[in-house]
Symmetry: C2
Subunit: 350 residues, 2 copies
Amino acid sequence: MSLFLRALRGEDTPRAPIWIMRQAGRYLSEYRALKAQHGFWTLARTPELAAEVTLQPVRRFGMDAAILFSDIMTPLPDMGLELEFKPGPVLERPVRSAADVARLRVPSEDEVAPFVPDAIRLLRRELGDTPLIGFAGAPLTLATYAVQGQGSKEYEEFRAFLRRDPETADELLEKFTATTINYLRAQVAAGAQAVQLFDSWAGIHDLATYRRFGAPAARRVLDALADTGVPRLYIAVGAQHLYPAIAELPLEGVSVDWRMPLSACRSALPGRTLQGNLDPAALLGDAHSLEREATAVLRDGLGGPHVFNLGHGIFKETDPDMVARLVGLVQGFERHAHDVEAPVPARDVA
Amino acid sequence: MSLFLRALRGEDTPRAPIWIMRQAGRYLSEYRALKAQHGFWTLARTPELAAEVTLQPVRRFGMDAAILFSDIMTPLPDMGLELEFKPGPVLERPVRSAADVARLRVPSEDEVAPFVPDAIRLLRRELGDTPLIGFAGAPLTLATYAVQGQGSKEYEEFRAFLRRDPETADELLEKFTATTINYLRAQVAAGAQAVQLFDSWAGIHDLATYRRFGAPAARRVLDALADTGVPRLYIAVGAQHLYPAIAELPLEGVSVDWRMPLSACRSALPGRTLQGNLDPAALLGDAHSLEREATAVLRDGLGGPHVFNLGHGIFKETDPDMVARLVGLVQGFERHAHDVEAPVPARDVA
């Protein structure tokens, strides 16, 4: 079994497997060339193109896992929510009322973004031993976006909506939950060997709000995948204050951002494989600072199962040579050669 | 002495004083009228206009403190960094090199944004017993903005800069520190009765980076105000992971955002007056949800000295009637009528 899947099963692997959030994307010239030709939305919805883009970084750098090239908004059109990418997703008609929610369809496993399972089937043939991660947006995050209508710093429309009409918010979350279950089950049936649930905007909410709206929906999605046996990963950025609730979710792994050291995250998220947490800005520094920061993360991760990743998506300004350097560094770091009990130095930036 | 200043001196006041971050601003029609006439930058730099805008919410709602109407970028032009507001501040020439930093001036107490002390002197005559809060951006936050050149979600230019050239970052922080000391000392000399240091973007950094670059600069500013005797407040949003370092700063009060309950913040920030932490989105709900959420904050604040505020700036969409309702509710809540030992219910959003 691959190192990635072994680490997600809780094994203290000889070295930490590595993949990188948004590893298929704009920092790669071969991606930019395809995107210039086809546009983002066509890339995401054409199985051959999505598969090709997914493979690009794995071919170039030899990451230990591939993640399907897609967007968390991909299933929305099949629910009746039309999108445009300009370049971020913008909803033609944001959800604002009970009538808007009532109008939403819950597509079946066969109906929801069928090009995604098609891409997964193509990829499994190409990827060989490299495991493939499927993913979806978590219901709270999809609802946040659907009500706001587009990316936002504060998502105040959604935060107002939760207060003005919590019952309608519940119905909206229910439709996203049912859709996300179908969407992820279809991905697993097509061959995804792990899934990551992106609760990208959960961190804007306080713990009580997250416990009331976000955690129960995420739990239903994760529970509905239990019988598939695939490991379940979860990510929320800037969400350290939510860890008491995230620690209770049925998850094998949690992606953590760079704000809190892995060793502190281990105490907050006991029994989970941790994934992370190099600051993506470390790839914008020089070779020396990258080595220092990446090594600090590797050492800080020794206390339990660890999948190396960035704490958030890679910046489009990143030099691919720095990615190659990082992958080599992580793949050359033998965990068992280091003493877990030795004091781990604080990450020293300067 | 006013309730606000008593609370900042650590007194368990009979009721929590209230003011609201960005209380002078776009949610008020009288502000929008003045801004349409003069533009933001003229309002901020004309003492009579800045004073008038500062007074508007106090006159209308009777908050327990006024905060000078200004912007944290106000001192930058006197350092040689020209700004435009479109509508957020944009630097004509961002700081990117050692030569850019060497070129920056450190204006004296008399030279740095002199219209601000002038506005403070006007305000002290008008405000009577209502205390006036002066403020400035913290050096780390000013440096973040100066390098990035404008508002950003990720501030990746600055995060790269810290890694590529930490020595130049130190020199940049030193110039902002010296300027901020002069700027705040001038505000106190003119009559500001408390100061708040805004480290608005500190939360994007991990604790080690904050300890290396942010905390020492903030400490120097705060130490340089110790002899004035004015209480010192500090705010960083989304910064719960930095509380171990913030707890060591020489501060009388800390503004905390809505993500973490006040009672948990008290444990993380012992011995400080807490200021906060209603979710600004609570003012976008209805009267019922506002009362429930505000009361939960008031009860959660009973464990020590508390200044009621929002956890972040008020949204421009806020109905002023909701603000009036909130001020009345907070000013009518007698702290000593409630049992601190009683279990405080979790904030219930729905």
